[in-house]
């Protein structure tokens, strides 16, 4: 038996509206990450740190040779850390809502299948 909210959504087309809100939001989130990563590196200052020793003055070349044994990646500061946690939380919230809506769609599609709705359409 459908819940009151589910019945209301089926009637008003709310499901489609929410999918239209969440799906672009999910795509935009991923696209933003993509866009952020293909833009130029953070600053000119940091860019200099990856110059080859040949391009740098001798004193700096020696500095570059000293490399840590291991680079452990992760958020650089509290702002980035918070942003990432918020992003993961938002991602899961969007996933939960989309799963709920998709489950309603599955129920509707299965109901139509039971009614042999598609069989008439195939003809």
């Amino acid at each position: 038996m459908k819940s009151r909210l589910a019945r209301r959504w089926s009637r008003t087309g709310m499901k489609k509206k929410i999918v239209f809100i969440f799906m672009p939001a999910l795509i935009m989130g991923v696209f933003t990450a993509f866009a952020a990563s293909i833009q130029q590196p953070l600053s000119e200052e940091k860019d200099k740190s990856v110059q080859t020793p040949a391009q740098q003055p001798p004193a700096k070349a020696a500095e570059v040779q000293v490399q840590p044994d291991k680079i452990v990646p992760g958020p650089k500061n509290i702002k980035e850390r918070t942003a990432i946690y918020v992003f993961v939380g938002w991602l899961w919230a969007a996933i939960v809502v989309l799963i709920y809506i998709t489950r309603l769609e599955i129920k509707e599609a299965d109901r139509l299948l039971e009614l042999k709705f598609y069989r008439n359409e195939k003809k």
Partner: protein
């Protein structure tokens, strides 16, 4: 306006024929249907690999001097670069896990029965291509561990009589692992293997559309009633749920467990202690370690490599070996599948612990 636009595209592209095909396509509904989701999961992870791989290629430089530095730059300077690399890393592992699950589930339920032999064979080639993807990608960060693991990995074919030496030289681009190996592996990783994989995927998907998804033995023998689910929209909606969950798990793993980067590889340095390949090669690595230097007068490694190649060939031609799946022979081959899984897991754990 919207309707006339869709009619314009319909006249030129004929999408309604595709939709008509998808509406007629059905998926058998039984206790094994869950394994059907692994096929689309592979496609999801492959798509993520392609997107993140392109993003990494914007910054990666496949040269001896720049490879490690450029990966370090991706991880430290490029905005969200470490997440992109982490997603690429985790989706590679997830893809290989799902390819293994997909193949072994097909083995268990004997989906390779006539007329689906070629579907199985393209699937095995897809597994080999995925493993080679992982192997070539492992060297690209050019740190001490990846260099040593590649030296060990490319040395293995040397044990094969006659062609072994040539295979090793072909993989390395010379006698030893050098900058040439790096650029060669990069070409394999971003050009040759993706083209090969896309071609195989296209053939594999075409064969699935042509032959349909296999039905269980019990249904085929008429012992059970066949239940079916329309692919569109009933099955696709279910797949969307699986995709959403997998996508969420992947991003979460990438954020909280990003892979680190070791010190830049030194070609003259001795191999560090405890070199191990990626997890999906551990069972092969441990198998090779088990063999002694000499068995009678033959090199132990040669025998090990010969046995591994023989096992892969038998795995490839499995549909022809398992030609009576409902008889005793078929049951023995199913037990062999369980034995192979148990062996791979046990060997991998052993290798991790030692």
């Amino acid at each position: 306006m919207g309707r006339s636009l869709s009619a314009w595209f319909e006249d030129r592209l004929g999408f309604s024929a595709v939709m008509g095909f998808l509406r007629k396509k059905t998926v058998p509904l039984n206790k094994h249907t869950i394994w059907s989701y692994t096929g689309s999961a592979i496609l999801l992870f492959f798509g993520i690999q392609v997107v993140t791989g392109i993003m990494l290629a914007f910054y990666y430089r496949p040269t001896l001097e720049e490879a490690n530095k450029s990966v370090a730059r991706i991880m430290t300077d490029v905005p969200l670069g470490w997440i992109i690399r982490s997603v690429h890393f985790w989706s590679a592992s997830a893809m290989i896990v799902t390819v293994f699950i997909h193949l072994f589930s097909s083995w268990m339920i004997k989906s390779y029965r006539k007329p689906r032999e070629l579907t199985w064979m393209t699937g095995v080639l897809l597994l080999v291509a995925s493993l080679f993807f992982g192997f070539t990608g492992y060297l690209l960060p050019w740190d001490d561990l990846s260099l040593s693991a590649t030296k060990v990995g490319t040395d293995i074919p040397r044990s094969i009589p006659i062609v072994g030496e040539w295979v090793t030289k072909f993989l390395r681009g010379g006698d030893d692992v050098t900058g040439d190996t790096l650029s060669r592996f990069f070409s394999f990783h971003i050009c040759i293997l993706p083209l090969f994989l896309l071609l195989l995927l296209a053939i594999h998907i075409y064969l699935i559309q042509k032959q349909g998804i296999s039905i269980p033995l019990g249904v085929e023998a008429g012992k059970e009633k066949l239940k079916e689910l329309p692919f569109w929209p009933n099955f696709v909606y279910r797949e969307i749920i699986v995709w959403l969950v997998l996508f969420g798990v992947l991003i979460t793993a990438a954020v909280f467990l990003p892979p680190s980067l070791g010190k830049v590889a030194d070609l003259m340095a001795p191999a560090p202690k405890g070199i191990k390949p990626e997890w999906y090669f551990l069972f092969l690595f441990q198998t090779l370690k088990l063999f002694p230097g000499k068995i009678f007068f033959i090199n132990g490694d040669t025998i090990a490599v010969f046995l591994i190649v023989a096992a892969v060939v038998l795995f490839f031609f499995l549909p022809f070996l398992d030609n009576k799946p409902d008889k005793m022979k078929g049951k023995v081959i199913t037990w062999l599948a369980w034995a192979a899984i148990a062996y791979a897991v046990a060997m991998s754990i052993w290798s991790l612990l030692t």
